[in-house]
Symmetry: none
Subunit: 233 residues, 2 copies
DNA sequence: TTACCTCTGTCATCCCCCTGTCACCTGGGA
DNA sequence: TCCCAGGTGACAGGGGGATGACAGAGGTAA
């Protein structure tokens, strides 16, 4: 059992690590976002502190979610309702506010894992396990390195543009609704009427020079395409 | 979407019911444990108050867990660590203490359902069509990815066309009436006299090149067919 | 300041949905 | 076998709505 503990405070990390170890988990503790992203694919479940110094917590959470679908519990001092809602919408399975009670946290970990350890397994053959870039046509999306290459040349996308592309690339071939995308990336489905998503999709298409990289499913949402050549059935 | 709201306090039930209805859930509210147990099997998810007068909350939770495996969130005034741990260990997927914040509770409901729900329309008896595509002949309908393949090649259907096909594919072999299909997809049975359904069925047949994929039951409705070869009993 | 990103608003376009019509098929009755 | 009535398939056209393209305001970081 491999727990990934993302926590920059030494005392907190020590306390949590001890509690987890007592319950039979092997723990890898990291204190920086970059290390968290590097080890995400090894984790059986994740405890995430949103207050890291080197990257916004929500942003880290979204990036982790693209890299792995393991159970993830946010453990943080941020207790505003807005923070909690956004954290859960960004993909957290549970959200625990510091100071927390250890036994409760352990019970929550077990509850989340009970739901996610599907006996039939293989629920996540999808998300880029480890570091294999997603390829479609001559476009290469490296979810771990957060880079995009077209015909070998790196393309610089903005944060939102990359988020949208990475979200679609995490499950190639699947169609995602506008609401789902807005929920996961913006944390707000009520932006559905907004034009933001369209604008950023257009940005990805323009900067990559591959209009077919993101395919529109009219009236529903978007899907990762074949990289440009939009031939039909 | 069927939410089972187990709550004996009228004001609380009203507030919760309103919030759920605003988010598109249909709500059945019960105030007694016996009613909760009776309707448990219909629920798509459960909100459970532990403070009912006629049965100990934990005991009710355990009995509910035997009857149904739907996502269940405890919403209660009991805030002792011991209560929370016991509730989670008894099978609750989350535990929210009153007074709670509505938006947070809704986000927690979504988070739990995200982990437990089958991605697309099929919502009934959990007969394993969770992630496996439906196959008939050489046609493959992936309800999770919202894609359709014929002989391995992806076929692009419009929204309505896909909706009709997916609805039939969610229960292979069953015959569905025009009214039922219109009700579930259009939300309006009064379109029964309209030609829309026929047009979209024709679209599916034409685009897939499999006229037998959707079989007409004259005077009644439609049924998922065998993928092309139109022989039958 | 400067440059860039993000979001919003507007306009134009195109596709999809619905409807209407005609023809064909099916099933029942004479 | 023939006729009739209702239902369905095929096809075309109009309208509406979703999306793409573009511009500009506001915010943020360098």
């Amino acid at each position: 059992m491999h727990a990934l503990l993302v926590e920059d405070d030494d005392r907190m990390a020590h306390a949590l690590g001890t509690a987890l170890a007592q319950r039979g988990h092997s723990v890898r503790r990291v204190g920086r976002a970059s290390d968290a992203l590097q080890h995400a694919h090894e984790a059986e479940f994740v405890l995430l502190d949103l207050g890291l110094p080197d990257l916004d917590g929500l942003e880290l959470l979204r990036r982790l979610r693209v890299l792995c679908s393991a159970p993830l519990i946010v453990v943080t001092a941020r207790c505003e309702e807005r923070d909690i809602v956004q954290g859960l919408r960004a993909g957290a399975d549970d959200y625990v506010v510091k100071p927390f009670r250890t036994a409760e946290l352990m019970a929550r970990i077990d509850a989340v894992r009970r739901r996610t350890d599907t006996p039939s397994g293989s629920r996540d053959t999808d998300d880029g396990d480890g570091g294999e870039p997603v390829r479609t046509g001559d476009v290469e999306i490296d979810l771990a390195a957060r880079t995009v290459r077209v015909a070998g040349a790196e393309v610089r996308l903005t944060r939102r543009e990359y988020d949208v592309l990475a979200f679609l690339a995490a499950r190639p071939g699947e169609v995602h609704s506008r609401e789902e995308i807005l929920d996961r990336i913006w944390g707000d489905v009520f932006l559905a009427a907004s034009r933001s998503l369209d604008v950023h999709v257009a940005g990805v298409r323009a900067k990559t020079g591959r209009p077919g990289l993101i395919r529109t499913v009219r009236g529903f949402g978007y899907q990762l395409g074949d990289g440009g050549r939009g031939d039909g059935p």
